[in-house]
Symmetry: C2
Subunit: 205 residues, 2 copies
Amino acid sequence: MNLAAPPKVSFKQRMLKVREEAIVHAVNRLLAEKGFDAMTVDEVAAQVGIAKASLYKHFPSKEDLAAAAMVRVMRRAQDFIASLAEDAPPMDNLRAVVRWVLQVKLAGDMPTLPSQNSSLRATLIANRDYMDGLMDLSDRLGAWIEAAQARGELNPQLPAIAILYTFFARACDSVVEFLQMGGLFTDDQITELVLSTCFEGLNSR
Amino acid sequence: MNLAAPPKVSFKQRMLKVREEAIVHAVNRLLAEKGFDAMTVDEVAAQVGIAKASLYKHFPSKEDLAAAAMVRVMRRAQDFIASLAEDAPPMDNLRAVVRWVLQVKLAGDMPTLPSQNSSLRATLIANRDYMDGLMDLSDRLGAWIEAAQARGELNPQLPAIAILYTFFARACDSVVEFLQMGGLFTDDQITELVLSTCFEGLNSR
DNA sequence: GTCTATAATCAGATAGAC
DNA sequence: GTCTATCTGATTATAGAC
């Protein structure tokens, strides 16, 4: 419980914060829609309705814009996790998180970054908020994974870290796009299909 | 059986073919290493050891270069499939194909394209060799998938097309990169891990 | 067909006034 | 901090000689 007085935030500072949130929101949408390379800073500025030079007063580079969007989506994930019952069966929570990821992706709200871009990776690793969020997420999911393995629900022969990475990879699983493009399935059907193949696999049981 | 006389191919034509193969090989490597956007035509030319203008005599655009690399990898997949025993259990063949895909990817030989780039997609769709290869691949794998489902080995409740897409998506599954970056596993271990989670799932059995 | 040299464009980043 | 205008560099693509 934090009993300290809330920090005094001026009106100007709040306005600034709101603007920055608008920027990051726009970046998030553009990253989800066209990816990092195809997204231009001009577009971001246009979408927010400010000049490009103003963007650069808030964020020093395009890479930092992308990093801010990644921090945003990680915060949203943390918020979702916080909304889950801590004492629920770990498997239920893990499935809920993966389902949430798929739904965000299907809604076109999941920013994706090229995993090979090294200058971008350097920016991400140097970003404290990003790294902290990633660690926190890994810790929380990792605990559930190990609990589910101890209960014999998740395969205990798989390294927990491999399971964690498998979950992370669902955020950029192209099978979602393939199924979406095909147009044969609703978003809900795609969600359940991918969720099923992720946990139950493709084989018969 | 083709009993027609082989077409006469001049020395010059063979040289041309060899050069084009060198170009496409270089493109394949660069696409696998850094992706389409980060790959520059200058780099390709430098790697092949010819002038950029000469490249454009062979391929009309960067997109067509990428398409040629995709045709190449699809041919390799078709060759691999042709090497499998037609009368082997379909599941064995499917696992073998997915294993092959993972090994190519782990070896850094799997070209990856940004799925969102529309001009690139247009070029691919307009490319006869690419589309024919994709159809052929889909037909062959689709037949095995349905056979495996009929035998009750692959889950018959899953739409065959969804299983097919799930296989295709393994070619750009970022879990492979995550596991590779972590440095905790050998390539063979990663192959078996991903193969297992793909078919058997993450749950205990 | 291969080369050198160059066009044409585009995008990330900045200068400097207000 | 916001703007307009501009710089700078990189990149795709082509012109034209050989």
